[in-house]
Every structure is written in structure tokens, then in C-alpha cells.
């Protein structure tokens, strides 16, 4: 639900193919609007220092590990915590927030999903992320922006629509589910490689019935999202999903699956996709939940 749209949508032809073109902008659009007062650009990376090596001029840093997570409980920040974070970053409730990052926007998509839990009205992803901006020779800066502190309102986090918990996943068994981890993690063989510390899970494999679609298949070589036709071939064709399906996506801790959540929800127009952020680090450690080994769902 859009309450305010502070900035115009990007009218680039490629984006209009997608179900929700208002959720995504090109690097050109960002370059053009960078100085607009209603816009805040935020970089969210896997590497916590990458922002410091240079970022889009004026962009703030948003780190999921240290800022979007609750420091004690395994959960995201709560309403007051999110309001404090946004206020510190100089983001208002009516700000057009554009997120971008490294690794095909993997972490930026995660940050966008968390912002969506709090219903930030206008949050978008910059197609191609950090890699594309730099590849195009656009300016980067190491100067830390000084944005005036804002008074972001405390809003409740809504975990009911786009987030799934373990009990809900158990109740969902037999319905469409996508495991977006690597094939080795899906089959369960990764936990058995000699001399490798386990990835925080006691059991390997996947949730019964989940189909394997590694998240990065949605990204092209230049880190932009694949075209709608290509995405439909993967998710509707190969994985057999339908836009009306109730879908649960998961990975290891819910980061990579946020990327797939974005693709299904905003690029392909699925109406009900939930990200199970407990993911394999919860499921693979849980007593008596069913697990399937091997390459088949």
C-alpha cells in the first residue's frame, strides 16, 4: 500500500515488464535524482567495510548484522528500534528509500524486506546494485553524509504477511516452497565435507517438498534482475509455481531468500510469498521436524 510517493517512478522500459515497476529503479534514475530532497539512498552489503571504501555520493550505510537485527534475541529490531535507526539515518516515513548493495543486491533485498515488515511506504531497489554503478564509471565517495536527524514514527512490525515462522512452515508442508541455497546445501552433502566446520546446523538436507532454485539464478551477469520472461521460465516453468500460490522461501538465515521473495512478489506479482527467516539454521537444528536428503524435493 502506497501512502505517499515522493519521487516519480522510473519509466525505463525494462522495468515496466515487471509486476511492480515502482519497486525498482535503474542506476540512471538514481544518478538523475541523487540530489532530490525526498530521496535517501542506502547501501547494504555483505561486507561491513565495503561502504567505507567508497559509496554512491550521499548514500548512508545500513548494515543488517549490526543494525537490523536485535542484538540479543534472534529477531529483527522492534518498532521503537526501527524508528530510532531510521531517524539516525535521516530517513522519514515519507522518504523515497532506494537500497542497493554488493553481490547482486542480496543484502539490499534483505534490508528491503525488513523495511517492508515495518511497512515503509516507498522503498525501492536499485537494479544491478553496487557492481553496476561502479562498472558504469559513476562517481563514488568516501565522505560520510551528514543527514539531519529525523523523527521517524514508531510503527509496529507486521510479521503476518511476508514472514513465516517454523510452526507455519510445518503447517505449510505439501504446499509450494522454494529452497534458494546452493545445490550442495540443498542435498545435505555440504555438512559432510571433511574438515569444514558445520554451518551452524546439526542436520543437512532440505524441507520436504521444497524445490531447489538457487537465488542467484534470478540475476544476470551484470547483477541486474533477469527479464520477466527469463524469470517466468525459471519460477513458473521449471519450478512449477503459479502467481496465485501461497509460497514459502528459505535459505540459511533468510537473507538469500529475501532476494527470491522480492523477485516473486514484486517482479512476478505473486500475491502471497513469505520468507522463513529461521531457515536452515533453525530447521536443521530442530528436534523431530522432517528433512529430505538428496537432489529431489
Amino acid at each position: 500500500m502506497r501512502l505517499t510517493v515522493a519521487l516519480p517512478n522510473d519509466s525505463a522500459a525494462k522495468l515496466q515488464e515487471y509486476a511492480h515497476p515502482e519497486m525498482i529503479v535503474t542506476t540512471e534514475w538514481v544518478a538523475e535524482h541523487l540530489d532530490d530532497p525526498g530521496l535517501v539512498v542506502a547501501e547494504s552489503d555483505e561486507d561491513v567495510l565495503l561502504y567505507e571504501t567508497g559509496h554512491i555520493p550521499g548514500a548512508v550505510k545500513l548494515d543488517w548484522h549490526t543494525e537490523l537485527n536485535d542484538p540479543v534475541t534472534r529477531d529483527y529490531v522492534d518498532g521503537p528500534g526501527f524508528a530510532r535507526l531510521m531517524s539516525d539515518k535521516g530517513i522519514s516515513r515519507d522518504t523515497t528509500l532506494v537500497l542497493y548493495g554488493d553481490r547482486n543486491n542480496w543484502w539490499a533485498a534483505y534490508a528491503l524486506w525488513v523495511c517492508s515488515l515495518f511497512g515503509h511506504p516507498d522503498v525501492r531497489l536499485m537494479d544491478g546494485g553496487r557492481a553496476k554503478w561502479i562498472a558504469e564509471g559513476r562517481p563514488i565517495s568516501t565522505e560520510e553524509p551528514k543527514r539531519p536527524h529525523t523523527d521517524y514514527p514508531v510503527t509496529d512490525r507486521d510479521d503476518t504477511h511476508i514472514r513465516a515462522f517454523r510452526e507455519q512452515v510445518l503447517a505449510h508442508l505439501g504446499q509450494p516452497m522454494i529452497d534458494v541455497r546452493s545445490p550442495g546445501e540443498y542435498s545435505g552433502e555440504l555438512l559432510h565435507m571433511p574438515d569444514y566446520p558445520q554451518e551452524g546446523a546439526l542436520r543437512g538436507g532440505h524441507i520436504p517438498g521444497a524445490r531447489s532454485v538457487p537465488w542467484a539464478r534470478a540475476a544476470a551477469e551484470d547483477a541486474t534482475f533477469r527479464s520477466r520472461a527469463e524469470l517466468e521460465a525459471i519460477y513458473l516453468g521449471e519450478a512449477g509455481l503459479h502467481p496465485g500460490d501461497d509460497v514459502v522461501v528459505y535459505c540459511r538465515i533468510g537473507e538469500r531468500s529475501s532476494h527470491t521473495w522480492f523477485v516473486l512478489t514484486h517482479l512476478l506479482g505473486f500475491g502471497h510469498v513469505r520468507n522463513y527467516d529461521g531457515s536452515w539454521t533453525e530447521w536443521g537444528n530442530t528436534v523431530r521436524v522432517p528433512i529430505t536428503r538428496g537432489d529431489s524435493p
Binding site: E46, V48, L50, T53, H65, T66, P71, Y196, P197
Partner: protein
């Protein structure tokens, strides 16, 4: 609970980090990342000789050489887009390269939690550095038979 002792070089690095405020600690880690020595040609041209460290979120490769007199040499490679991983590798290089094998083996695995980086970098990311150290020690043991 006693804190295991670090070798003087690692202790100095830990002291430097802990003497700083949060933001400056990140800057120091960034400086370390810039100081990571490049691979010598014998490894740069033979990537198969390097051991991957998949616990790091970004790709990291390392090699360990133990000389006949037990002096340890460390070699790392990580991409420029992974400054945190490079920084961790660089800290281990600055703190351990050139030491005696026994001194390296005596480095406590929990050393990574003594840099004051948990809240800034997150424990999950620090696990990558602990994994590098574990692999370095294992390679030393393997090479000494």
C-alpha cells in the same frame, strides 16, 4: 576466567583496536585490508596450491609454508570487494607471519573475540577469521607430520 595470552605482536594489534572508538576500529580494519601483501608469483600463477576458506562470507584462499627451522609464512588472497575478509587476513599476517610454528599453534582460537569487533562486525562475520586461523593451524600440523 583467564584470558589466554597472545603473542606480543597479536597483543599489540588487539590493544590498538581496543584503544579506539567504534568507528575508528572499522577504519583500522580497513587500513589492515589495504596492507594485505599480494600473493607471490608462485601462488598467483598456481591457484590450485591455495586452500579455500568457505566459512568466510567472501572468497578467501590461503597457503601456509613451514620452513625447516619451523618458521611459518602465510599467504592470503581475497578480492578487493571483500575488505573485511582482507582485513582479517591481514591481521593474521601481521600477527603471525614469520613466527615459529609452536607460537602460531599456541594462538588461542578465541583470539578473534579480543579485538573489540563483535558489535561492529558481528560474531557471524568474525567466524570467518576464526576459520582462517583453524585452517592455518591444521596446515602447520599436517606439514610437520
Amino acid at each position: 576466567m583467564s584470558t589466554p595470552t597472545l603473542n606480543p605482536r597479536l597483543q599489540e594489534i588487539a590493544d590498538d583496536f581496543n584503544a579506539m572508538s567504534g568507528k575508528d576500529r572499522l577504519q583500522l580494519l580497513l587500513e589492515f585490508s589495504r596492507e594485505l601483501p599480494a600473493l607471490p608469483d608462485r601462488y598467483a600463477e598456481h591457484h590450485d596450491l591455495l586452500e579455500p576458506v568457505p566459512e568466510c562470507q567472501s572468497p578467501l584462499f590461503l597457503a601456509v609454508e613451514v620452513e625447516p627451522d619451523a618458521t611459518v609464512h602465510l599467504f592470503f588472497e581475497a578480492p578487493a570487494e571483500a575488505p573485511t575478509t582482507r582485513g582479517f587476513a591481514s591481521i593474521l599476517h601481521a600477527g603471525l607471519d614469520g613466527l615459529n610454528a609452536d607460537e602460531v599453534l599456541a594462538t588461542p582460537g578465541e583470539f578473534t573475540s579480543q579485538l573489540g569487533l563483535q558489535d561492529l562486525v558481528s560474531p557471524l562475520r568474525l567466524r570467518g577469521m576464526a576459520a582462517m586461523l583453524a585452517r592455518i593451524k591444521r596446515q602447520i600440523r599436517d606439514q610437520r607430520g
